[in-house]
């Protein structure tokens, strides 16, 4: 018998697509970069359309679709060897140096730290929401956020004049 429950999506597929674009896309872009993240989002939308009844009926469709994106990312990253999160941002280097440096340092975080830091500190998600999406516990999100932020602080905002003995500015190559 067909399952007709629409958990949280009374408007059906259109509402799900809105959620994918407004909630899942920032997570995918934070983890895999603008190009691969956007392409994965399009693939996830196709998948969601193909299996719409099943997906809409799920308790946590975005979490499920995030796992779908994770599976599909392998073809982009391993086989096509595409750049994921870029390490150079020439369009902002002369406009906003602080933003440029921060983007470069974000590129140096591991992908899970980056997605947790961005969702919590840039997109305003709660730890519980991030945990639901990634399918991990809040403790894991907490760990990723704190490790990521500590790393950004250690490279971004250490004032060598104030604390010369603790300055730990790492070259980007070493961070990754």
């Amino acid at each position: 018998m067909e399952n007709t429950r629409n958990h949280g999506y009374p408007d059906g597929f259109d509402a799900l697509i809105d959620e994918i674009r407004s909630r899942l896309l920032p997570a995918l872009v934070s983890k895999w970069g603008i190009e691969v993240g956007s392409d994965l989002c399009s693939e996830v939308e196709e998948y969601a359309w193909e299996y719409r009844r099943k997906v809409i009926a799920m308790e946590n469709p975005l979490g499920y679709l995030y796992r779908v994106a994770q599976s599909k990312s392998r073809s982009h990253v391993r086989w096509m060897n595409r750049n994921t999160f870029p390490s150079r941002f020439p369009d902002v280097v002369h406009e906003d140096m602080q933003l440029h440096d921060t983007l470069q340092m974000l590129a140096g975080l591991n992908p899970d730290q980056r997605v947790c830091v961005m969702l919590v500190h840039a997109f305003g998600w709660t730890y519980a929401e991030v945990a639901d999406l990634l399918g991990v516990t809040r403790a894991v999100v907490n760990h990723h956020v704190h490790r990521g932020i500590a790393r950004l602080r250690s490279t971004a905002f250490t004032d060598p004049l104030l604390s010369p003995s603790t300055a730990t500015t790492l070259p980007l190559e070493e961070q990754s």
């Binding site: 896309l25 369009d91 602080q98 921060t102």
Partner: protein
Amino acid sequence: MNHPHESQELDDVLGRAGDYLMRRTAEYRETPVVMNVRPISTRRGKRLLVGTAAAATLCVTALAGSFIGGTSSGKVDVAKAAWSAIPSAPTDDLIKQTKNNCHITNETLAGYEGATVATFPQDMLDPALIDVRGTTTTAVYFTPSHAVLCVQFADGSVSVNDMPMGPNDGNDGNGWKTPGTITVKIDGNDGTESFMATMIVGYLPDGENWDPYIKVDGIETVAATKSERWGRYIAWIPGEVSGLVAMVNKLTDEGFDLPFGPEEEAPVQLSPETTIETKVSDQGVVTPLGDPATTVSPGD
């Protein structure tokens, strides 16, 4: 322990990073990105929405910046020249302004052919390619042996450079030539830092529906501006870079890569001193100063 203002500063810059990523994502997807509307009860939520609005304003400002020009305001703040990986379409006004400011004439093109006088067809006196990236517009003219690149900055000032580029006789055995590059050094004003840029001009393969993309390690893919009529393309990237031009056929999904690298010659200097002063009359006629015999009507 970190100071509260450090946390605030980090939150602010991460907010800007999020806005930047979503703005670039919207450009890549060529669709507006819908930010999720959430209850605004926290400082972070407020900042998120303010940040989004600020990004939208910045985007509009950057676009408006592309349309500024035609008259010179003196110094060129080229250090703030914006760049984008995906070019925007030039407006009719921008095309007219670029033509007027570049002021490419029969005599200009004749100089690249080693002649003093020559008459070129009208379509060679018009830009074959106009590449708009942020506030920087590059118009490319072709002579039988050269590509003439006229770079126009946000305030309408221009700098003209050239690179050898003959007809596409397929002399590298593939039926098309490898892309040509020219490295330019763009001066900043008032002591601001100068920066290098690599301009890439090349030929499209035979047939239609080929899209050229520039791939450089560490940078998102750059879309080139192409003209199927001329069978050529142009793109530029900040920095002295090497990489690949990836040709992709929209219809067949065929593709191949062509390597490019920085030229070995010393970089050309693009400095604000090359500004062409212009005067606009009440009737809208733009007259380049210093060349009173030449008058260009905006309707041309």
